[in-house]
């Protein structure tokens, strides 16, 4: 193989992934004058951000003037069971409103309040209606806005191009090898910094709301390049995925349905969420149907219905009902909006949900309840980064969005993902700008590294025989679903890790048929390494954390353990190639942030009110 035959392109910075975070990071870099390349596996504008339906959380205070970043911050920390990176959660809550307003300046058209401001809706775990939204297609609006902004700013977009691995000059980043999906040709990017915005790795599970793209590419590449993964045990199961028909099992049903008043009932027609209110949220949650109804009608003194508890709680509650034999016919719970709102409202507020059920399940949600169950949705954990710059431990390597860890702790609130993408995308962009400005020399490309990456990719095609990549993937999904699912135990996880060892071996001999041109079998095989790194990291971290916190539920260690709050679990690749799993002591939080997070809601509301009065 002659490396000079492979096309090399130079940029200051390469952003991998063109969802909300990647686009926002690329816009920031190019706005500040960097030559920016944006590499994505799909066509531009198809990234998983389009599936974010409910809205983007930001304390604009349009729908409820009492809102403030401090309340958003407090909600986020409590939702994350205090395992969030304090500084990141602070930056996120503080900067989200500015990021949302900026979108509007770039052409986004959010739904309006009666006075013409951006309207906001209720969502699980948020004290006030806080989610700026566009019907139930907010993600599409955001991605389209950023896409249009980006292309007019001169970002170079490399569509349908898969990032394979990172290149390093000694310790720091020097580039990336990628592959054009259409032709199977390789391309080498030479750059001073790489921003990973690759999303999560939900495709390791069988029932997931994630698309084929979610193969943990960023985790795999960062891990191989020497960066650390953190909090990987916290994988969010969204409580409401479709359960029927089988072919769409896992497809997301937006939390907006509950935000608009939808209720969860079991086969006995019991509104079971009233039996699942934890002490932490008891003071802020309605305990009668009557109070919940008043809240929906707009009574500001009424407390929120229990359906809007955080996702981890709702997902576990649904699972419990199914296990107790009170599930719906296809093993879920009933989500009913039909008896709560009139047909006209449902179609206007939740148009794509109406359409989705009508076409995929032949069900009219304005007449009948939906059947829903937990589906793997989101990774709270990911690549460990610095809060302010979003840089990993590898100089020149940045990460933002779902593939980075920190903002959400042990559980993410709905709507905080879109705001995370925007806030951290921008932070990563300016982080890269600052880093590049300080770099004096252009890093050198190492041909040998590039050759090795390319060789391991082509080996998959060149082998005479070997395992079918689709079947290996299917086995992995089965394993993760059963052993590293919504509830875990040492035994299950141990088995899971053992199963992964076997799958690593199968992967070493994976074989794709056909040629290198647009060959999904080959693409599937190439993503397996990343899926396996992701899966192993989740399983190992989950086995180490001996408590139940947020999205991580251990049958053998019930409840939160104060001692575990001190630690994050950090994973990295060791010298011998194996994965090390380590308990790392967390930094001492800022005293002021600690005070805000631990205030009672009444005290915080009073404080915010005083502050707003004094500033007029």
């Amino acid at each position: 193989m002659n490396i000079t035959e492979i096309k090399t392109v130079e940029h200051d910075v390469i952003v991998l992934g063109a969802g909300g975070a990647g686009l926002r990071a690329a816009i920031e870099c190019s706005m500040q004058g960097l030559s920016t390349g944006l590499v994505c596996k799909s066509l531009l504008g198809k990234a998983h951000t389009v599936m974010a339906e409910g809205g983007v959380a930001a304390s604009l205070g349009n729908a409820d003037a009492r809102d403030h970043w401090k309340v958003h911050f407090r909600d986020t920390m409590r939702g994350g069971k205090f395992l969030n990176n304090w500084r990141m959660a602070e930056l996120h809550a503080k900067q989200a409103p500015e990021r949302v307003r900026e979108l509007e300046e770039w052409g986004a058209v959010f739904d309006r309040t009666k006075t013409g401001l951006i309207n906001q809706r209720n969502f699980g775990g948020h004290r006030y209606p806080r989610l700026a939204h566009v019907g139930d297609r907010t993600g599409l609006e955001i991605i389209r806005t950023l896409q249009d902004r980006g292309i007019h700013q001169g970002i170079e977009v490399y569509m349908e191009c898969t990032g394979l691995d990172l290149l390093k000059d000694k310790d720091r980043i020097s580039g990336m090898v990628a592959m054009w999906r259409e032709t199977g040709e390789f391309i080498i990017f030479r750059c001073k910094a790489v921003i990973l915005a690759t999303g999560g790795g939900g495709k390791a599970w069988k029932i997931t709301s994630n698309s084929w793209e979610y193969t943990g590419d960023g985790y795999g590449m960062a891990y191989e390049a020497g960066a650390e993964l953190m909090d990987m045990e916290f994988t969010q199961f969204h409580p409401t995925g479709m359960v029927w028909p089988p072919s769409v099992r896992g497809t997301l049903v937006t939390e907006g349905v509950r935000g608009e008043g939808g209720i969860l009932v079991n086969a006995d027609e019991e509104r079971f969420m009233f039996n699942n209110i934890s002490n932490r949220f008891a003071a802020e949650t309605a305990d009668t149907e009557e109070e919940a109804a008043r809240w929906l009608a707009g009574d500001k003194d009424a407390r929120r219905p229990p359906e809007l508890l955080t996702r981890d709680v709702v997902a576990r509650a649904i699972r419990k009902e199914v296990q107790a034999g009170r599930g719906s016919p296809h093993g879920g719970a009933f989500l009913d909006i039909a008896t709560r709102r009139n047909a006209e409202d449902i179609k206007r507020k939740l148009p794509s949900m109406y359409h989705q059920f009508k076409v995929l399940a032949e069900l009219d949600i304005t007449k009948d309840p939906m059947e829903v169950g937990p589906t793997l949705h989101y990774f709270m954990g990911g690549i460990r980064v610095d809060a302010d710059s979003q840089m990993t431990r590898v100089p020149g390597l940045f990460a933002c969005g779902e593939c980075a860890a920190g903002v959400h702790g042990a559980n993410r609130l709905g709507g905080n993902s879109l705001s995370d993408l925007l806030v951290c995308g921008k932070l990563a962009g300016s982080g890269a700008v600052n880093y590049i400005q300080a770099v004096s020399t252009v890093p050198e490309l190492n041909d040998e590294q590039a050759k090795n990456i390319i060789r391991s990719a082509t080996n998959i095609l060149n082998r005479d025989t070997g395992g079918n990549p689709y079947l290996i993937h299917e086995k992995l999904q089965e394993l993760m679903q059963n052993n590293v699912g919504i509830v875990r135990s040492d035994e299950l996880l141990g088995e899971g890790i053992q199963g992964l060892v076997d799958l690593w071996e199968e992967y070493a001999n994976v074989k794709a048929d056909g040629t290198s041109q647009f060959n999904p079998g080959w693409h599937e095989a190439l993503s397996l390494r990343n899926l396996l790194v992701t899966s192993e990291a989740v399983a190992r971290a989950a086995r180490m954390r001996e408590e139940s916190r947020g999205a991580h539920t251990r049958l053998d260690f019930e409840g939160e353990q104060a001692a575990w709050l001190q630690y994050n679990i950090v994973l990295k690749k060791t010298e011998d190639g194996s994965m090390s799993t380590e308990k790392v002591l967390r930094d001492e939080p800022d005293a002021e942030l600690m005070r805000i997070a631990n205030l009672s809601i009444e005290a915080l509301e009073a404080e915010v009110l005083r502050e707003k009065d004094s500033t007029g």
């Binding site: 309006r112 698309s211 028909p245 072919s247 990549p469 056909g514 041109q517």
Partner: protein, 249 residues
């Protein structure tokens, strides 16, 4: 479960055949599910595009029995049990491989559109009433599945890609032109560069839109009428001249 027959295009721009496949189909399946089964079990290297599998991203556009559709939102029970379902790539763009066409032309078009330019005086908390943005929001539902671009006969049969930007971008232009905060003027471009006159409003774009956007009635025709205001209505021009009124668009 039932065995169903498929014919899928295998090949590229230069050569190819319709290959026959049989696959077990489960209740509630869509065409994309069936193709996935074929891919996993019988044709590992068959190229196709898909992402969200819920009609929200617009990746899986193909032609099923000759009709442009999203394969993830086309249920198997739309077809008779004995019917052979043939699936082809989008016909108006060069075929890359199998069921995948090269739609990059569309991305080039978007670059030629004058971007959103809000009124700088209104910066901050922009005020817009819901009544004013209803029209714009309809257009912004667009998934960019390019089914409309594919079916538009100006692009498909008459091959006027250099003269007409296509329905998807006509509604993008409409969404900008009708935006209450926008200050840019794109009407000369709509007429000349983007070719609004090339459209003869035969409405196939509207017929195939999976989001049911009224592309023709609410997007293209209102733009054509704005072009008429500016270029083809001598009386209106006289009126504005005589009464020194500012033209509304």
């Amino acid at each position: 479960m039932a065995l169903r027959n498929f014919k899928l295009f295998r090949g590229n721009q230069n050569e190819g055949t319709m290959e026959h496949y049989s696959v077990e189909v489960d209740k509630g399946m869509v065409v994309l599910d069936a193709i996935h089964h074929i891919q996993a079990e019988q044709a590992g290297d068959m190229a196709l595009r898909w992402n969200c599998k819920a009609g929200k991203c617009g990746s899986c556009s193909v032609e099923i029995n000759g009709k442009p559709k999203l394969s993830c939102m086309t249920r198997m029970n739309e077809y008779g049990p004995e019917e052979t379902i043939s699936v082809r790539p989008l016909q108006s763009f060069p075929v890359m491989k199998d069921l995948v066409s090269d739609v990059s032309w569309n991305y080039e078009q978007n670059k030629n559109i004058t971007p959103f330019k809000p009124d700088p005086l209104k910066k901050g908390n922009y005020i817009m009433m819901q009544e004013d943005i209803d029209r714009v929001q309809e257009f912004r539902k667009c998934l960019e599945c390019y089914l409309c671009q594919n079916v538009c006969h100006v692009l498909r049969d008459q091959r006027q890609k250099d003269k007409f930007i296509g329905p998807r971008f006509m509604i993008r232009l409409a969404s900008l032109e009708m935006h209450p905060l926008d200050t840019a003027d794109r009407i000369p471009d709509v007429k000349d560069t983007h070719g609004s006159g090339m459209c003869n409003i035969t409405r196939c774009c509207t017929d195939v839109c999976p989001e049911h956007i009224q592309i023709t009635d609410n997007g293209i025709i209102p733009l054509k009428e704005r072009v008429v205001d500016r270029y083809y209505d001598p009386l209106l021009r006289l009126f504005y001249k005589l009464f020194r009124r500012k033209s509304p668009n």
